[in-house]
């Protein structure tokens, strides 16, 4: 076991030169940039991934779903959905969750094909997701390996925004910290009375997240938040999150 591991390390291909999409991305979002524009002027891509598991070293993305938000409206005609053929783990415990069969996954395109298309779809938009750092970790691991760099795109985490929102409303009387399921996408959607979608499909979940995002930012704008920077701060300050899986 250890030997194979070692072997993998040695034979791991060198990092490829940075892909034009990555260069474009890194130029567009330089470190430390500030974003004073209004939220309504910004385009967003809300994304969700399905994974073979949560081990950041071994597990892989098997599906990406995403929808676009422009003028703070979800564009039903601009969606992205792709299944991805994993390198090794076709069948894991997660198969029961996302219901993508090994058979389906064998027929899917490899990440090397899907990733550029996905980055193209994302364009200059900011990213949004529910506990999106997990998705981004996996995506960036793939971009690093396949496209020679990582995304610097600013992102919003709907889970953080929900915490900020509820904190502002001083609304966690029934103490959510103790309820480990209170910040899942499903629980929040139910709590806020959003229309509900089929769970555990990357595209449906990204749609659900998009609804949650619209709900939160519009509710928070009633609380006085306006610029991107303010929302980013509101979302980030609560980054010490407890992961609800």
């Amino acid at each position: 076991m250890q030997i194979t591991h070692l072997f993998q390390k040695i034979t791991r291909p060198l990092r490829p030169p940075a892909h034009p999409l990555i260069i474009h991305n890194n130029n567009l979002f330089p470190p430390g940039a500030k974003y004073p524009q209004l939220l309504s002027e910004q385009e967003f891509v809300v994304l969700d991934t399905e994974l073979t598991g949560f081990n950041r070293k071994q597990d892989e993305i098997v599906a990406i779903g995403a929808v676009r938000i422009k003028n703070l409206q979800i564009l039903c005609g601009e969606t992205f959905y792709a299944l991805i053929r994993p390198d090794e783990r076709f069948h894991t415990k997660s198969t029961l969750v996302h219901r993508l069969t090994p058979q389906e996954l064998r027929c899917a395109s490899p990440m090397a094909d899907v990733l550029p298309r996905f980055l193209h779809f994302c364009g200059d938009a900011f990213l949004v997701g529910h506990y999106v750092r997990l998705d981004l970790d996996f995506i960036n691991r793939a971009t690093k390996k396949l496209l020679g760099g990582v995304l610097q795109t600013p992102y919003f985490d709907t889970m953080c925004l929900a915490m900020a929102h509820k904190n502002y409303k001083n609304d966690h009387a029934s103490d959510i910290i103790n309820r480990h399921d209170a910040y899942t996408l499903t629980a929040l959607s139910a709590e806020f009375g959003l229309p509900s979608f089929m769970e555990h499909n990357a595209l449906q979940d990204s749609m659900q997240t998009a609804y949650l995002f619209l709900y939160l930012i519009k509710k928070m704008s009633q609380q006085g938040l306006q610029t991107m920077q303010e929302y980013l701060v509101a979302g980030r300050n609560r980054s010490m999150i407890w992961w609800p899986y």
Partner: protein, 641 residues
């Protein structure tokens, strides 16, 4: 293909929503899919003003996926009137798009709401391409909002103006175009044309060329603007000023298609075409007349009948007016009044024709309408509740004659009414019952006894009589009886106390935890009786307060209004009562209409599960109003239970 970059799974949610929403459910799967891709989704927190009347440029049709909005109008004085609540599956914004005007109303979310938005251009394209969709939107549009070229049309309207005046757009143009076809040759002079038009009282004339083909049209307006205003010679040839080619419409098209085309082309005349032949003209005037097809048309027809039998089919038509009225967005209160007026006309016509047949009665009399008819609150077929009141006479011979006459009169009248579709009253409260066919002195005696004798059972059975009003004949007799009743009822505290207790007997079907209480089993499982459990209360309450404060009106809303004007009801309470009661009336009417259209006998059993969230919420609020009013009755009459 295992993957597809433009896979529209989320759009499937939009598709499934659209396919459950009128009128989009009529679209083909393909059309639905295309439309769904063009939708955007927006979120509006509670209290968001989406439209500002007269200010907002409407760029989208809004379909409510979740939540609800209220729409209201603001007049020049800045007063607000609530127009409507719209909930899930309903839309707003269609009218301003069709008319290309700014928002016609204020629209504000009353809940956090998610909407699907269809872009103006996409919606217009849909209207242009899909006849079923455009028909739906035109039909549901309230005519009083139709502006522009049709302002003129509205001015012509001679109708007694009620809020619910409506237009029916479902007759084929061929049927409603009244005029004959008049033509002139193209080489006729303007003078010839004007002459033909004025001789035949027509506003337009078609022009034929040598081959008998219709090539153009001249209208009144052409004569005014192209000839007279420009000082042209009256010998000018018709062909020089005619509009060509003639705008045509298929003989199979519906009246609203014609209206739509007229609006689009900005013309008032269309030639009706069948197999390449022009049959006749249809004008805005024809459509205007047709628009009366509902109540107005029925009025005219009813009043014009000379034979009692001819009233039967007209009476049967009355319930159909309700559908149109509801579609046009009329309030239940206006609808029931409209139905009552129509029924009154039928009764009036029928009894006048009978008096003609039977000869004048030996004594002046008044036909009394009671119950819901007496309160002007009829909906679909309501049972007959009527009675005859006639003048006293010292002469026993005359009295005997009168008795015979009214006996025969009542029997014939009730028969005719049954033929008209008004069912018999199971409780025999009809003029055929000798008990309810009496001279004024006996009626006075009845009411004195009901008010004076503290026998609760009898009072309860007689409440129906307290809502009487004159239906036909000598109404001063009924008025005298009313005066007497008003005088005595106010004095009789015990009588009023019994009525008050009666008001407390119907409990709104809401549990302690604010859930609806429904029937657990039986024929009406999972439903409750909206009339018995809720509406009756408002009727009883209005009657009680009217009798207590000497209000002569019988209509529930009128009673409440007069009570409020007389400061007997606090303004806030009055507003709440009206809102609650109107909502219940509307709910019942729509429910009964649905039953009727499903081929069932209309009833009052409502299943809360069939209602939208907003409707359920409003219903609960209406029940809460009942609870509060019952508390206030307990206080006023010092009733402890």
């Amino acid at each position: 293909m295992a993957e597809n970059e433009q896979n529209f799974i989320p759009v499937e949610n939009v598709v499934s929503f659209l396919s459950n929403t009128l009128p989009f459910n009529r679209l083909s799967p393909d059309e639905l899919h295309r439309l769904a891709k063009k939708c955007v989704i927006d979120f509006f927190p509670k209290g968001t003003m989406i439209f500002n009347q007269g200010l907002t440029t409407v760029n989208f049709l809004y379909l409510i996926q979740k939540g609800g909005v209220k729409s209201y109008l603001k007049n020049e004085q800045g007063e607000l009137t609530l127009n409507d609540y719209r909930g899930e599956g309903e839309y707003f914004g269609a009218l301003p798009i069709i008319q290309e005007t700014k928002a016609n109303l204020n629209v504000e979310t009353v809940e956090d709401s998610f909407c699907f938005l269809i872009g103006k251009k996409d919606f217009q394209a849909l209207l242009a391409q899909n006849a079923e969709v455009s028909q739906y939107f035109l039909r549901t549009m309230s005519a009083k909002l139709v502006k522009g070229v049709y302002a003129e049309l509205r001015q012509h309207k001679i109708a007694p103006r009620t809020d619910g005046a409506l237009y029916l757009f479902s007759a084929p143009v061929e049927e409603i175009a009244k005029g004959k076809l008049y033509t002139a040759p193209t080489n006729a002079t303007v003078k010839d044309v004007a002459q033909i038009m004025s001789e035949n009282f027509i506003g337009s004339l078609l022009l034929k060329d040598e081959t008998d083909t219709i090539v153009g049209i001249i209208t009144d307006k052409d004569l005014r603007t192209k000839v007279v205003a420009k000082g042209l010679d009256f010998a000018t040839l018709a062909s020089e000023i005619m509009a060509s080619p003639v705008q045509t419409i298929s003989s199979q098209a519906m009246a609203f298609d014609a209206l739509l085309k007229m609006m689009k082309e900005k013309v008032h005349h269309l030639a009706i075409e069948k197999n390449g032949q022009i049959l006749k003209m249809i004008t805005t005037h024809d459509i205007m007349v047709e628009q009366g097809t509902s109540p107005l048309y029925l009025f005219r027809e009813i009043v014009a009948q000379r034979r009692i039998e001819d009233l039967y089919p007209l009476a049967q038509k009355v319930p159909f007016v309700i559908r149109t009225l509801i579609e046009e967005g009329a309030k239940a209160n206006n609808i029931t009044r409209m139905i009552t007026v129509l029924n009154d006309h039928i009764l009036d016509r029928l009894l006048s024709l009978m008096v003609k047949e039977m000869g004048e009665p030996p004594l002046p009399f008044c036909w009394l309408s009671m119950g819901s008819e007496g309160r002007r609150e009829q909906t679909f077929k309501t049972d007959q509740d009527n009675a005859i009141l006639y003048q006293d006479s010292e002469n026993p011979k005359v009295m005997a004659l009168a008795e015979d006459y009214f006996k025969a009169f009542a029997r014939t009248a009730i028969d005719h009414l049954v033929q008209c579709g008004y069912p018999l009253c199971p409780g025999e409260i009809m003029a055929t019952n000798p008990k309810w066919r009496q001279p004024l002195s006996t009626w006075e005696h009845y009411f004195k006894r009901w008010c004076g004798v503290p026998e609760p059972q009898e009072i309860l059975h007689s409440t129906i009589f307290f809502d009487f009003r004159p239906g036909f004949g000598n109404s001063s007799l009924a008025e005298r009886l009313r005066q007497l009743l008003t005088g005595i009822a106010q004095q009789e505290d015990i009588f009023l106390l019994h009525l008050a207790r009666n008001c407390l007997s119907s409990k709104p079907p809401l549990s302690f935890f604010k859930n609806f209480i429904v029937e657990k089993n039986g024929e009406h499982k999972n439903t409750f009786d909206l009339k018995r459990k809720a509406m009756v209360f408002f009727v009883d309450f209005a009657r009680l307060m009217a009798l207590k404060h000497g209000v002569n009106e019988t209509n529930t809303l009128d009673r409440l209004r007069i009570l409020s004007e007389g400061q007997y009801l606090p303004q806030g309470m009055y507003a709440e009562i009206i809102e609650a009661y109107e909502f219940l009336m509307q709910l019942r009417l729509v429910h009964q209409l649905q039953m009727l259209e499903d081929g069932k006998q209309p009833d009052n059993y409502i299943n809360p599960g069939d209602l939208s969230d907003l409707e359920r919420q409003t219903l609960k609020e209406a029940f809460a109003v009942i609870n509060r009013l019952q508390d206030s009755i307990r206080m006023t009459f010092q009733i402890r239970e």
